[in-house]
Symmetry: C2
Subunit: 339 residues, 2 copies
Amino acid sequence: MVQENSGGAAAKAPTIYDVAALAGVSHQTVSRFLKDRTALKPSTLEKVESALAQLDYTPNLAARSLRSKARYRIVVVVPEASLYFPARMLNGAAGVAQEAGYRVDVVTTDNSTESRQARLRSLLLAEDIAGVLSFVPDSGGTEETSVPLVVAGEYDDQMRARGTLADGSAAAKVIEHLASLGHRKFFHVAGPAAWPSARNRKAAYLYAIAAQGLDSLGVEDGDWSAASGYAAGSKIASTRGVTAVFAGNDHMAIGVIRALHEHGLTVPGDVSVCGWDDMAESAFLVPSLTTIHMDLEGIGAGCMRELIHRIRGEAGPVQPPRLEPMELVIRESTGPVSL
Amino acid sequence: MVQENSGGAAAKAPTIYDVAALAGVSHQTVSRFLKDRTALKPSTLEKVESALAQLDYTPNLAARSLRSKARYRIVVVVPEASLYFPARMLNGAAGVAQEAGYRVDVVTTDNSTESRQARLRSLLLAEDIAGVLSFVPDSGGTEETSVPLVVAGEYDDQMRARGTLADGSAAAKVIEHLASLGHRKFFHVAGPAAWPSARNRKAAYLYAIAAQGLDSLGVEDGDWSAASGYAAGSKIASTRGVTAVFAGNDHMAIGVIRALHEHGLTVPGDVSVCGWDDMAESAFLVPSLTTIHMDLEGIGAGCMRELIHRIRGEAGPVQPPRLEPMELVIRESTGPVSL
DNA sequence: CTGAAAGCGCTTACAG
DNA sequence: CTGAAAGCGCTTACAG
């Protein structure tokens, strides 16, 4: 499981002094080269360049950051109970950060333990943190820090405050699609209220129902898991008249379908079910899942771009992320209302 | 989306000198306190302690690591195309690392891009890296580094080399279970051969088939995704006689079931299908999935514990991780062979 | 355009 | 048991 080191004395990493000695210049000149090559005259530049390459030099970030107060690390906070957390978001974010020259410190958090909270706080106070990207809506303690902070989803909140819903048009499409199939009586299984995306989808659902003159026979809050969808599904099965269910994510949709199945209801024969996210396996379920396709990787990348934009103090608004379109993908789990 | 900092001058983090001044001692004394409290006499200890608490001091890791050459960071390499990578493993690993006082740098990798490889290599050469935990079997370049390295799954390889199979008994249980239902003709959908766990399960499958005097009508390599399971499933549907399929993970099992469904074959009526991993939603599928329950979080934690053990140069073998038992969970997707 | 000096915040010898 | 000195590898002024 472990690969032995090539033994003995670990090869000391070369320093700026080694490079300087080899190039026959002062170490400051090497430092200058690293910062801005054009500040050197061509002949010097060349010497430094070849010495650098020869030694395979890597700067010591600790020393650099100690002296320059520059920061090279971004902390990403992910929920610990991340059975449902889309790893794709983390990937998107990490990719962008690496591309921009930052290292990514991942911190998992559950809201329960004191000690972990404390550890997170002290980490955030550390001097070398450039910024924080939190995928956890209530990431206790992150707010007090003075580094730039992006909480994924807060954008949604802002928009909702302005009367716009980030997920609005997609949710409207779901409801329209179901209404066009003759459905009139709906049920919504929402994500946990702490999450902006959950609040957003619920609000968009309620708005679309009202706008299109339909009926919502109930809303149940889950926790994003299939198990919570299953619990909601049992309730739905015993609620007379529901013919269409809109679930806040695909996991919960799976749970709903299972519960309906156990109550002798078929999907989409008796009840239509629509999810949200378009997980990689949703197309392969039986029935395959009608859902909203989300560019999770793109969203993660967008959040990270925004954070880096703030870290660098660039003026002007962040360019909105170029995401794959958020589209309704119609599959087998939704169908005409049964009479 | 962004929370403004509490404005103005960022509160400078307190240094060891601030603490020393407040406590009325030299900064070395504070440093000693941090390293080993018992080296101070009680009255001094008390003064330092209260000053420390009052200022909410956090050590500057960059400075500490620059001077002491101690390392505080562990790099975790995760596959970029991690649609299927169980985030739970990362969580388990990160939790253990944090608990032990390390920070976790996550690096995503795909094997394609040169620049990313280079970045990974230079990251690994950085002076402040204590060790590397890779969840990617072929994490190009990590081998050259002189820091302790654990590649998740290599342990499996070692055991196989010694004639033992980590996943052996569980795979045997799968085959036994299916054989007890009357199945004789099997098919295996394996994970990518680069992954030790995939090779392991395939070997265990072939061994169990032979040991129990059964027939394997084929083995198809997938890439862990439902889509690859689907492709294999089409092949299975056109292979005469197969009544039981053992898939290397639950995602591929889902794809297999879908393909069989499209070919008019029911599960488990016509064909039984068994997965591996026991994803959170596997119990809620229709049919619910027979699978091997894996303690993914525990495995991630175990790998990290081993790495830290090596980093600290502790003698003796690593205590084997205390995992939840790897159990066969019998659900609806496997049933008696049809005649 | 380049070198000599100072210093980031810590820890590790060295004295007392 | 505690303080004065030195130095980790860098970058940032300051001179030339």
